[in-house]
Protein backbone atom coordinates (compact mmCIF):
# COMPACT_ATOMS: atom_id res chain seq x y z
CA UNK A 1 0.00 0.00 0.00
CA UNK A 2 2.81 2.34 0.98
CA UNK A 3 4.74 1.71 -2.24
CA UNK A 4 1.54 2.07 -4.18
CA UNK A 5 0.79 5.38 -2.50
CA UNK A 6 4.25 6.65 -3.36
CA UNK A 7 3.87 5.72 -7.01
CA UNK A 8 0.49 7.49 -7.06
CA UNK A 9 2.07 10.60 -5.56
CA UNK A 10 4.73 10.53 -8.28
CA UNK A 11 2.04 10.21 -10.94
CA UNK A 12 0.12 13.16 -9.51
CA UNK A 13 3.27 15.26 -9.43
CA UNK A 14 3.91 14.30 -13.03
CA UNK A 15 0.60 15.91 -13.98
CA UNK A 16 -1.92 13.08 -13.50
CA UNK A 17 -4.50 14.85 -11.33
CA UNK A 18 -6.97 11.96 -11.55
CA UNK A 19 -4.55 9.65 -9.76
CA UNK A 20 -5.08 11.64 -6.59
CA UNK A 21 -8.61 10.24 -6.45
CA UNK A 22 -7.20 6.86 -5.44
CA UNK A 23 -5.44 8.40 -2.42
CA UNK A 24 -8.59 10.25 -1.39
CA UNK A 25 -10.70 7.09 -1.62
CA UNK A 26 -8.16 5.06 0.35
CA UNK A 27 -7.69 7.44 3.28
CA UNK A 28 -10.84 9.54 3.62
CA UNK A 29 -12.52 7.24 6.17
CA UNK A 30 -9.57 7.38 8.60
CA UNK A 31 -9.29 11.13 8.14
CA UNK A 32 -13.03 11.52 8.77
CA UNK A 33 -12.79 9.51 12.00
CA UNK A 34 -10.13 11.67 13.60
CA UNK A 35 -11.74 14.86 12.27
CA UNK A 36 -15.07 13.86 13.83
CA UNK A 37 -13.47 12.99 17.16
CA UNK A 38 -11.77 16.35 17.39
CA UNK A 39 -14.48 18.55 15.88
CA UNK A 40 -17.34 16.72 17.55
CA UNK A 41 -19.83 17.01 14.71
CA UNK A 42 -20.28 15.60 11.21
CA UNK A 43 -20.56 18.87 9.32
CA UNK A 44 -17.26 20.21 10.62
CA UNK A 45 -15.61 16.81 10.22
CA UNK A 46 -16.56 16.66 6.54
CA UNK A 47 -15.20 20.13 5.93
CA UNK A 48 -11.99 19.16 7.69
CA UNK A 49 -11.66 16.11 5.42
CA UNK A 50 -12.04 18.28 2.31
CA UNK A 51 -9.60 20.85 3.62
CA UNK A 52 -7.03 18.23 4.62
CA UNK A 53 -6.99 16.55 1.19
CA UNK A 54 -6.91 19.91 -0.57
CA UNK A 55 -3.95 21.08 1.54
CA UNK A 56 -2.21 17.77 1.02
CA UNK A 57 -2.60 18.12 -2.76
CA UNK A 58 -1.26 21.65 -2.71
CA UNK A 59 1.78 20.59 -0.66
CA UNK A 60 2.33 17.29 -2.40
CA UNK A 61 5.77 18.37 -3.61
CA UNK A 62 6.85 18.68 0.03
CA UNK A 63 5.66 15.19 0.90
CA UNK A 64 8.67 13.18 1.95
CA UNK A 65 8.70 9.64 0.74
CA UNK A 66 9.96 8.44 4.12
CA UNK A 67 6.50 8.54 5.69
CA UNK A 68 3.29 7.07 4.36
CA UNK A 69 0.75 9.26 2.65
CA UNK A 70 -1.87 8.09 5.16
CA UNK A 71 0.15 9.32 8.15
CA UNK A 72 0.94 12.55 6.38
CA UNK A 73 -2.65 13.43 5.49
CA UNK A 74 -3.73 12.32 8.99
CA UNK A 75 -1.39 14.94 10.48
CA UNK A 76 -2.68 17.58 8.12
CA UNK A 77 -6.24 16.71 9.11
CA UNK A 78 -5.42 16.99 12.83
CA UNK A 79 -3.96 20.42 12.21
CA UNK A 80 -7.00 21.49 10.21
CA UNK A 81 -9.23 20.23 13.03
CA UNK A 82 -7.09 21.97 15.63
CA UNK A 83 -7.45 25.27 13.75
CA UNK A 84 -11.17 24.77 13.38
CA UNK A 85 -11.77 23.86 17.03
CA UNK A 86 -9.61 26.79 18.11
CA UNK A 87 -11.79 29.28 16.27
CA UNK A 88 -13.84 31.43 18.70
CA UNK A 89 -17.06 30.98 16.71
CA UNK A 90 -16.85 27.22 16.95
CA UNK A 91 -16.12 27.34 20.68
CA UNK A 92 -19.12 29.61 21.17
CA UNK A 93 -21.33 27.13 19.31
CA UNK A 94 -20.15 24.34 21.56
CA UNK A 95 -20.97 26.31 24.67
CA UNK A 96 -24.43 27.21 23.46
CA UNK A 97 -27.15 25.92 25.80
CA UNK A 98 -24.64 24.96 28.45
CA UNK A 99 -25.04 26.06 32.01
CA UNK A 100 -23.15 25.22 35.12
CA UNK A 101 -24.45 25.43 38.65
CA UNK A 102 -21.49 26.46 40.82
CA UNK A 103 -23.15 25.46 44.10
CA UNK A 104 -24.10 21.88 43.36
CA UNK A 105 -21.24 21.33 40.91
CA UNK A 106 -23.53 19.33 38.70
CA UNK A 107 -23.64 19.78 34.99
CA UNK A 108 -26.92 20.77 33.42
CA UNK A 109 -27.19 19.49 29.91
CA UNK A 110 -29.35 21.21 27.33
CA UNK A 111 -32.39 19.05 26.75
CA UNK A 112 -32.26 17.29 23.41
CA UNK A 113 -35.52 15.54 23.91
CA UNK A 114 -38.97 16.97 24.45
CA UNK A 115 -39.66 14.63 27.38
CA UNK A 116 -37.02 14.98 30.16
CA UNK A 117 -38.12 11.76 31.82
CA UNK A 118 -36.91 9.81 28.84
CA UNK A 119 -33.39 11.08 29.21
CA UNK A 120 -31.46 8.13 30.51
CA UNK A 121 -28.48 8.23 32.79
CA UNK A 122 -26.17 6.86 30.11
CA UNK A 123 -27.10 9.61 27.75
CA UNK A 124 -26.61 12.18 30.47
CA UNK A 125 -23.13 10.87 31.12
CA UNK A 126 -22.29 10.90 27.44
CA UNK A 127 -23.58 14.45 27.00
CA UNK A 128 -21.69 15.62 30.08
CA UNK A 129 -18.57 14.00 28.73
CA UNK A 130 -19.05 15.82 25.46
CA UNK A 131 -19.46 19.12 27.27
CA UNK A 132 -16.40 18.45 29.39
CA UNK A 133 -14.45 17.79 26.22
CA UNK A 134 -15.58 21.09 24.77
CA UNK A 135 -14.27 22.89 27.84
CA UNK A 136 -10.75 21.80 27.00
CA UNK A 137 -8.53 24.04 24.94
CA UNK A 138 -8.06 23.07 21.31
CA UNK A 139 -4.58 21.66 21.98
CA UNK A 140 -5.65 19.75 25.08
CA UNK A 141 -8.60 18.26 23.26
CA UNK A 142 -6.50 17.28 20.27
CA UNK A 143 -3.79 15.77 22.45
CA UNK A 144 -6.35 13.83 24.51
CA UNK A 145 -8.25 12.54 21.49
CA UNK A 146 -5.04 11.38 19.87
CA UNK A 147 -3.79 9.67 23.04
CA UNK A 148 -6.97 8.29 24.57
CA UNK A 149 -9.20 7.60 21.58
CA UNK A 150 -6.77 7.24 18.67
CA UNK A 151 -4.13 5.55 20.85
CA UNK A 152 -1.22 7.48 19.36
CA UNK A 153 2.08 7.65 21.22
CA UNK A 154 3.27 10.85 22.91
CA UNK A 155 5.98 11.15 20.25
CA UNK A 156 3.44 11.01 17.44
CA UNK A 157 1.21 13.53 19.21
CA UNK A 158 4.14 15.88 19.67
CA UNK A 159 4.99 15.58 16.00
CA UNK A 160 1.42 16.19 14.86
CA UNK A 161 0.97 19.18 17.14
CA UNK A 162 4.42 20.53 16.38
CA UNK A 163 5.46 20.69 20.03
CA UNK A 164 8.10 19.05 22.23
CA UNK A 165 7.18 15.56 23.57
CA UNK A 166 7.04 16.91 27.11
CA UNK A 167 4.64 19.66 26.04
CA UNK A 168 2.43 17.05 24.36
CA UNK A 169 2.47 14.97 27.54
CA UNK A 170 1.56 18.01 29.61
CA UNK A 171 -1.33 18.78 27.26
CA UNK A 172 -2.68 15.25 27.71
CA UNK A 173 -2.17 15.48 31.46
CA UNK A 174 -4.03 18.79 31.73
CA UNK A 175 -6.88 17.34 29.66
CA UNK A 176 -7.07 14.26 31.89
CA UNK A 177 -7.10 16.40 35.03
CA UNK A 178 -9.85 18.68 33.73
CA UNK A 179 -12.00 15.81 32.48
CA UNK A 180 -11.74 13.91 35.75
CA UNK A 181 -12.63 17.03 37.69
CA UNK A 182 -15.57 17.86 35.41
CA UNK A 183 -16.93 14.34 35.43
CA UNK A 184 -16.41 13.67 39.15
CA UNK A 185 -19.98 14.73 40.14
CA UNK A 186 -21.43 12.28 37.65
CA UNK A 187 -19.25 9.45 38.90
CA UNK A 188 -20.60 10.18 42.38
CA UNK A 189 -24.16 9.96 41.15
CA UNK A 190 -23.63 6.87 39.10
Amino acid sequence: MQGNDHSIVRAVLAGDKEAYGALVRAHSAAVFRVAFRIAGNEADAEEIVQEAFLRAYQRLEKFEQRSTFGTWVYRIAVNCALNRVGQPGIEADYRHGEESDPETKTVQVAAQDADPERVLLGREVSAAQELAMQRLTATEKCAFVLRHLEERSMGEIAEVLGVAPNAAKQAVFRAVQKLRRELAPLRGNA
Binding site: G15, F32, F36, R37, M154, V176
Partner: protein, 250 residues
Amino acid sequence: MKHLSEDEQMEMYYDEGSEGAKKHLKACRECAAEFAKFKRSLDAIKPEEVPQRGPEYGDFVWQALRPQLIPYEKKAAGWHGWAWWKTATAAAACMALLTAAFIGGRLWEQRKSNGPDVAGNVETQRRVVVVVLTDHLDRTERLLVQLNHADPQDKAENAQLQTEARELLASNRLYRVSANKEGDPALAGALDRLERVLAEIANDPHLTAADLERVRKDMNTSGVLFEVRVLRARKPNQEGGPTSAKGVSI
Protein backbone atom coordinates in the same frame (compact mmCIF):
# COMPACT_ATOMS: atom_id res chain seq x y z
CA MET B 1 7.46 6.07 50.83
CA LYS B 2 6.53 8.45 48.06
CA HIS B 3 3.16 7.71 46.54
CA LEU B 4 2.37 7.97 42.85
CA SER B 5 1.44 11.40 41.59
CA GLU B 6 -1.47 11.96 39.21
CA ASP B 7 1.05 12.46 36.45
CA GLU B 8 2.63 9.08 37.17
CA GLN B 9 -0.78 7.45 37.36
CA MET B 10 -1.53 8.82 33.93
CA GLU B 11 1.74 7.38 32.62
CA MET B 12 0.81 4.04 34.14
CA TYR B 13 -2.63 4.17 32.58
CA TYR B 14 -1.18 4.75 29.12
CA ASP B 15 1.51 2.05 29.62
CA GLU B 16 4.28 4.62 29.80
CA GLY B 17 5.08 4.27 33.49
CA SER B 18 8.59 3.78 34.75
CA GLU B 19 9.77 0.49 36.26
CA GLY B 20 9.94 2.16 39.66
CA ALA B 21 6.33 3.30 39.44
CA LYS B 22 5.22 -0.20 38.40
CA LYS B 23 7.02 -1.80 41.34
CA HIS B 24 5.59 0.77 43.73
CA LEU B 25 2.07 0.17 42.47
CA LYS B 26 2.45 -3.54 43.15
CA ALA B 27 3.79 -2.91 46.65
CA CYS B 28 1.58 -0.03 47.83
CA ARG B 29 -2.07 -0.82 48.54
CA GLU B 30 -2.97 2.85 48.90
CA CYS B 31 -1.60 3.69 45.46
CA ALA B 32 -3.19 0.61 43.95
CA ALA B 33 -6.60 1.72 45.23
CA GLU B 34 -6.02 5.25 44.03
CA PHE B 35 -4.91 4.00 40.61
CA ALA B 36 -7.99 1.77 40.35
CA LYS B 37 -10.15 4.87 40.87
CA PHE B 38 -8.08 6.77 38.33
CA LYS B 39 -8.44 3.94 35.82
CA ARG B 40 -12.22 3.75 36.28
CA SER B 41 -12.58 7.46 35.70
CA LEU B 42 -10.61 7.35 32.45
CA ASP B 43 -12.18 4.09 31.27
CA ALA B 44 -15.52 5.83 31.57
CA ILE B 45 -14.48 8.30 28.91
CA LYS B 46 -15.43 6.22 25.95
CA PRO B 47 -14.95 7.25 22.37
CA GLU B 48 -17.97 8.88 20.89
CA GLU B 49 -19.50 6.72 18.22
CA VAL B 50 -18.18 7.91 14.90
CA PRO B 51 -20.93 8.04 12.24
CA GLN B 52 -20.32 5.33 9.72
CA ARG B 53 -19.20 6.27 6.26
CA GLY B 54 -19.82 3.77 3.50
CA PRO B 55 -17.40 2.79 0.74
CA GLU B 56 -18.85 5.51 -1.48
CA TYR B 57 -17.66 8.20 0.96
CA GLY B 58 -14.21 8.36 -0.65
CA ASP B 59 -15.84 8.95 -4.03
CA PHE B 60 -18.04 11.64 -2.54
CA VAL B 61 -15.00 13.47 -1.11
CA TRP B 62 -13.09 13.10 -4.36
CA GLN B 63 -15.95 14.44 -6.49
CA ALA B 64 -16.24 17.49 -4.24
CA LEU B 65 -12.50 18.03 -4.26
CA ARG B 66 -11.71 17.36 -7.92
CA PRO B 67 -12.81 20.70 -9.44
CA GLN B 68 -10.62 22.60 -6.97
CA LEU B 69 -7.41 20.86 -7.96
CA ILE B 70 -5.05 22.32 -10.53
CA PRO B 71 -2.95 19.64 -12.23
CA TYR B 72 0.78 19.75 -11.60
CA GLU B 73 2.85 20.64 -14.65
CA LYS B 74 4.10 17.62 -16.49
CA LYS B 75 7.76 17.00 -16.04
CA ALA B 76 9.32 15.95 -19.32
CA ALA B 77 12.19 14.16 -17.64
CA GLY B 78 13.48 13.52 -14.17
CA TRP B 79 16.86 14.32 -12.72
CA HIS B 80 18.49 11.75 -14.95
CA GLY B 81 17.01 13.02 -18.17
CA TRP B 82 18.40 15.17 -20.94
CA ALA B 83 16.84 18.32 -19.46
CA TRP B 84 18.99 17.93 -16.36
CA TRP B 85 22.16 17.76 -18.43
CA LYS B 86 21.15 20.83 -20.40
CA THR B 87 20.48 22.76 -17.19
CA ALA B 88 23.73 21.60 -15.60
CA THR B 89 25.76 22.54 -18.69
CA ALA B 90 24.15 25.97 -18.85
CA ALA B 91 24.84 26.52 -15.13
CA ALA B 92 28.49 25.45 -15.53
CA ALA B 93 28.92 27.79 -18.52
CA CYS B 94 27.44 30.66 -16.52
CA MET B 95 29.80 29.92 -13.64
CA ALA B 96 32.83 29.83 -15.94
CA LEU B 97 31.79 33.11 -17.54
CA LEU B 98 31.33 34.76 -14.16
CA THR B 99 34.71 33.50 -12.92
CA ALA B 100 36.46 34.74 -16.06
CA ALA B 101 34.77 38.14 -15.76
CA PHE B 102 35.80 38.38 -12.10
CA ILE B 103 39.46 37.46 -12.71
CA GLY B 104 39.63 39.75 -15.74
CA GLY B 105 38.19 42.60 -13.74
CA ARG B 106 40.72 42.10 -10.96
CA LEU B 107 43.66 42.06 -13.36
CA TRP B 108 42.42 45.16 -15.16
CA GLU B 109 41.99 46.98 -11.83
CA GLN B 110 45.54 46.03 -10.78
CA ARG B 111 47.04 47.25 -14.05
CA LYS B 112 45.10 50.48 -13.86
CA SER B 113 46.10 51.17 -10.27
CA ASN B 114 49.83 51.02 -11.19
CA GLY B 115 49.51 54.07 -13.47
CA PRO B 116 48.50 57.67 -12.98
CA ASP B 117 45.99 56.84 -10.27
CA VAL B 118 48.70 56.88 -7.58
CA ALA B 119 49.60 60.43 -8.49
CA GLY B 120 45.92 61.21 -8.56
CA ASN B 121 45.53 59.88 -5.03
CA VAL B 122 48.44 62.00 -3.77
CA GLU B 123 46.93 65.04 -5.45
CA THR B 124 43.56 64.31 -3.85
CA GLN B 125 45.19 63.87 -0.45
CA ARG B 126 47.03 67.18 -0.81
CA ARG B 127 43.79 68.95 -1.72
CA VAL B 128 42.11 67.54 1.33
CA VAL B 129 44.98 68.81 3.55
CA VAL B 130 44.79 72.29 1.98
CA VAL B 131 41.03 72.44 2.43
CA VAL B 132 41.37 71.40 6.08
CA LEU B 133 44.14 73.92 6.77
CA THR B 134 42.20 76.68 4.99
CA ASP B 135 39.21 75.88 7.17
CA HIS B 136 41.42 76.15 10.28
CA LEU B 137 42.79 79.49 9.18
CA ASP B 138 39.27 80.71 8.38
CA ARG B 139 38.08 79.89 11.86
CA THR B 140 41.17 81.42 13.42
CA GLU B 141 40.69 84.61 11.41
CA ARG B 142 37.09 84.90 12.59
CA LEU B 143 38.22 84.40 16.19
CA LEU B 144 40.87 87.10 15.97
CA VAL B 145 38.44 89.53 14.33
CA GLN B 146 35.95 88.83 17.11
CA LEU B 147 38.71 89.31 19.67
CA ASN B 148 39.76 92.67 18.24
CA HIS B 149 36.19 93.93 18.18
CA ALA B 150 34.84 92.18 21.27
CA ASP B 151 32.93 94.12 23.88
CA PRO B 152 35.03 93.56 27.04
CA GLN B 153 31.91 93.67 29.23
CA ASP B 154 29.97 90.99 27.30
CA LYS B 155 30.64 87.85 29.35
CA ALA B 156 28.71 85.55 27.06
CA GLU B 157 30.77 86.61 24.06
CA ASN B 158 33.98 86.16 26.02
CA ALA B 159 32.98 82.66 27.05
CA GLN B 160 32.21 81.80 23.42
CA LEU B 161 35.63 83.11 22.38
CA GLN B 162 37.27 80.95 24.98
CA THR B 163 35.44 77.82 23.83
CA GLU B 164 36.36 78.44 20.22
CA ALA B 165 39.99 79.11 21.22
CA ARG B 166 40.18 75.77 23.05
CA GLU B 167 38.94 73.90 20.00
CA LEU B 168 41.36 75.68 17.68
CA LEU B 169 44.32 75.28 20.01
CA ALA B 170 44.48 71.49 19.63
CA SER B 171 44.31 71.52 15.85
CA ASN B 172 46.72 74.44 15.63
CA ARG B 173 49.37 72.40 17.47
CA LEU B 174 49.06 69.61 14.92
CA TYR B 175 49.38 72.01 11.99
CA ARG B 176 52.41 73.70 13.56
CA VAL B 177 54.19 70.38 14.09
CA SER B 178 53.37 69.33 10.51
CA ALA B 179 54.64 72.66 9.12
CA ASN B 180 57.91 72.23 11.02
CA LYS B 181 58.32 68.70 9.68
CA GLU B 182 57.64 69.78 6.15
CA GLY B 183 60.20 72.59 6.47
CA ASP B 184 57.84 75.57 6.11
CA PRO B 185 59.25 78.06 8.67
CA ALA B 186 56.93 80.91 7.66
CA LEU B 187 53.82 78.86 8.29
CA ALA B 188 55.30 77.26 11.42
CA GLY B 189 56.26 80.66 12.86
CA ALA B 190 52.85 82.18 12.18
CA LEU B 191 51.10 79.16 13.67
CA ASP B 192 53.39 79.36 16.71
CA ARG B 193 52.45 83.00 17.38
CA LEU B 194 48.82 82.13 16.78
CA GLU B 195 49.08 79.24 19.22
CA ARG B 196 50.34 81.52 21.98
CA VAL B 197 47.34 83.82 21.52
CA LEU B 198 44.95 80.86 21.50
CA ALA B 199 46.61 79.33 24.57
CA GLU B 200 46.37 82.61 26.42
CA ILE B 201 42.63 82.88 25.77
CA ALA B 202 41.82 79.19 26.15
CA ASN B 203 43.70 78.54 29.38
CA ASP B 204 42.63 81.55 31.42
CA PRO B 205 40.12 80.16 33.93
CA HIS B 206 38.54 83.58 34.60
CA LEU B 207 38.79 85.48 31.38
CA THR B 208 37.99 89.11 32.10
CA ALA B 209 37.71 92.19 29.94
CA ALA B 210 41.13 93.32 31.19
CA ASP B 211 42.65 90.00 30.15
CA LEU B 212 41.30 90.35 26.64
CA GLU B 213 42.62 93.84 26.36
CA ARG B 214 46.03 92.69 27.56
CA VAL B 215 46.12 89.86 25.02
CA ARG B 216 45.17 92.26 22.23
CA LYS B 217 47.97 94.67 23.10
CA ASP B 218 50.74 92.39 24.36
CA MET B 219 50.41 89.76 21.72
CA ASN B 220 49.64 92.06 18.88
CA THR B 221 46.60 90.16 17.70
CA SER B 222 46.17 92.56 14.83
CA GLY B 223 49.59 91.54 13.58
CA VAL B 224 48.79 87.84 13.97
CA LEU B 225 45.53 88.40 12.11
CA PHE B 226 47.42 89.97 9.26
CA GLU B 227 49.77 86.99 9.10
CA VAL B 228 46.83 84.57 9.05
CA ARG B 229 45.27 86.49 6.17
CA VAL B 230 48.52 86.34 4.23
CA LEU B 231 48.76 82.59 4.84
CA ARG B 232 45.16 82.07 3.79
CA ALA B 233 45.80 83.94 0.57
CA ARG B 234 49.08 82.13 -0.04
CA LYS B 235 48.33 78.48 0.72
CA PRO B 236 45.57 77.74 -1.82
CA ASN B 237 47.58 79.32 -4.64
CA GLN B 238 50.66 77.35 -3.75
CA GLU B 239 48.87 74.02 -3.66
CA GLY B 240 46.84 74.64 -6.76
CA GLY B 241 43.60 75.13 -4.83
CA PRO B 242 41.10 77.95 -5.15
CA THR B 243 42.70 81.34 -5.90
CA SER B 244 40.30 83.50 -3.99
CA ALA B 245 40.06 82.77 -0.30
CA LYS B 246 36.91 83.46 1.63
CA GLY B 247 37.37 86.74 3.41
CA VAL B 248 35.86 88.13 6.56
CA SER B 249 34.85 91.75 6.60
CA ILE B 250 36.25 93.72 9.49
